[in-house]
């Protein structure tokens, strides 16, 4: 396994105002440090308000930390060099309901620069698997949620991103849809892609990741390889966090 660092975050702090009219801020990320090597698959677990989404946004360059350092493949988060190498799948699938399957994919492929991407797209087969049974001519408005999520996954995989961020990718999908997402993530792992996934599901984390990190109140509570921690241990950890919160 390569030892190149895909994600490097050091002492990241971020706080938000409770209300625009109040000066008081509450911390969302508390000196959070995390390092993810290339080709690793990491799942971030945590209750609502733990800071998962804010941390992912900071890694994507959408939110700016108050202090600390974030790098993606040794480039500052949000910089063009960092953005070229990543893909992002949101919890809410992007819907351009008037576009058909191929128009949707072409539309986003044309927005992505060819610079820094290999010509032999190793993810082409996977993309074909994802969109294979989605109707070619029908507009997106006629697709099921599972189809939309798979089409969006295919969009993310265009032009070979090395680091893929997934935000609650299985939320709202039926069990078959959820299994499909796990299967795709595992294929990506086999192909050596680095995966960073935010999830509420312990099962999903254990099935689709090499490493699991639990966040609570902007801090890392546990950071272990999946093979070293059991489902029941994670459940107990969560129940413990819940009792702290209540």
């Amino acid at each position: 396994m390569s030892s190149e660092i895909a994600i490097f975050a050091s002492q990241v702090k971020k706080s938000f105002r409770k209300n625009p009219r109040h000066k008081e801020k509450f911390p969302v990320l508390n000196n959070l440090s995390l390092s993810v090597t290339k080709s690793q698959s990491i799942a971030i677990l945590g209750p609502n308000g733990a800071g998962k989404t804010t941390f992912m946004k900071a890694l994507l360059g959408l939110v700016f930390p108050d202090s600390g350092q974030i790098q993606i493949f040794s480039h500052p988060a949000g910089s063009q060099m960092a953005r070229q190498r990543l893909g992002f799948l949101s919890e809410l699938p992007l819907i351009l309901d008037f576009l058909s399957r191929q128009s949707f994919l072409n539309h986003f492929a044309s927005l992505i620069s060819d610079a820094g991407h290999s010509k032999d797209n190793t993810l082409d087969t996977l993309i074909q698997d994802l969109i294979g049974n989605i109707p070619i001519d029908l507009p997106m408005s006629s697709y099921s949620k599972g189809m939309m999520q798979r089409l969006n996954f295919a969009r993310v995989l265009q032009k070979d991103p090395e680091l893929i961020f997934l935000d609650e990718p299985a939320t709202g999908l039926d069990p078959i849809g959820q299994l499909n997402i796990v299967r795709i993530v595992n294929r990506l792992r086999e192909l050596g892609r680095t995966i960073y996934v935010n999830t509420h599901s312990i099962d999903f984390a254990l099935e689709a990741a090499d490493r699991v990190v639990v966040l609570h109140q902007g801090r890392i509570v546990t950071d272990q390889m999946c093979k070293d921690i059991s489902r029941s241990e994670l459940e107990n950890l969560f129940l413990g966090l819940d009792s702290i919160r209540s």
Binding site: R83, F88, S90, L92, H107, L111
Partner: protein, 253 residues
């Protein structure tokens, strides 16, 4: 590299045009404009006294009003929806920079509104020419200024939309517009002191109405004044676009 930058801007502008084509507000604007212009033409044809001045005034004011309302709702809705449904992430996370997104959106808005103005403006010109048996060049310039003023309106709306919620943006924009128009009216009518002149210089000053006033009152319009209007509005649009870019660069999403 430059080609890719332009391609991203073009793609985002194209998205806005596709959005506009499907937006019923555009169809409504065009439909109402056509209906009212044809109605004015019919009335002017019957009533001789309306033919020249009044037809021009009513039609051009109508075009301005319809597109003013269209710009407010289309620009604020589009930008607000991009943030609300998080589609802005899909552009910004990968290869589109914030500046490219902003410029693409701005050009898309302006092109969509320009197309609508040109389509309904052409109808006004045809009707005016039919009524008066001659092409009124002042009306052609009126259309140019209207489009130019939309560039300013869209840039101010874009800045406000990135800073405030949809409702506040609309109210603030209307306040700014009426305040600037009041200052403009005072400056034409009675001259102003230093403070008001300063405010007038800083406010997004919409000049189209002044131009229309000159047409209505059949005043001579010099080429110097035309250059001033084009230059002033262009500079103000650029100023607000740069301010938006600076604001958007540090905005968290």
């Amino acid at each position: 590299m430059r080609g890719e930058c332009m391609r991203a801007i073009w793609q985002i502008s194209r998205d806005v045009l596709l959005e506009a084509r499907r937006n019923q507000l555009f169809l409504l604007t065009l439909g109402l404009s056509f209906t009212l212009i044809l109605l004015f033409t019919a009335v002017s044809h019957v009533e001789e006294s309306l033919k020249n001045r009044l037809f021009s005034e009513i039609s051009m004011t109508l075009l301005w009003l319809m597109h003013f309302i269209l710009a407010i709702f289309f620009v604020t809705e589009s930008l607000y929806t991009d943030v609300k449904d998080k589609s802005i992430y899909f552009y910004l996370v990968r290869n589109v920079s914030r500046q490219q997104y902003l410029v693409g959106k701005y050009l898309g808005f302006l092109t969509a509104i320009t197309v609508s103005i040109l389509v309904s403006g052409l109808t006004v010109l045809l009707c005016s020419t039919w009524l008066n048996s001659t092409l009124d060049v002042k009306l052609v310039w009126g259309l140019v200024f209207l489009i130019w003023e939309m560039a300013l309106i869209v840039s101010v709306l874009t800045l406000l939309s990135f800073m405030f919620s949809k409702l506040i943006t609309v109210f603030l924009f209307l306040f700014l517009f009426f305040f600037a128009s009041l200052l403009e009216y005072l400056s034409i009518d009675s001259g102003m002191n230093g403070l008001l002149s300063g405010l007038l210089f800083l406010a997004p000053n919409f000049k189209y109405y002044s131009y229309m006033e000159m047409i209505v009152h059949a005043k001579a319009i010099s080429s110097k004044y035309i250059v001033f209007l084009l230059g002033y509005t262009g500079c103000m649009s650029l100023f607000y676009l740069i301010a938006t870019s600076l604001q958007f660069r540090s905005r968290e999403l």
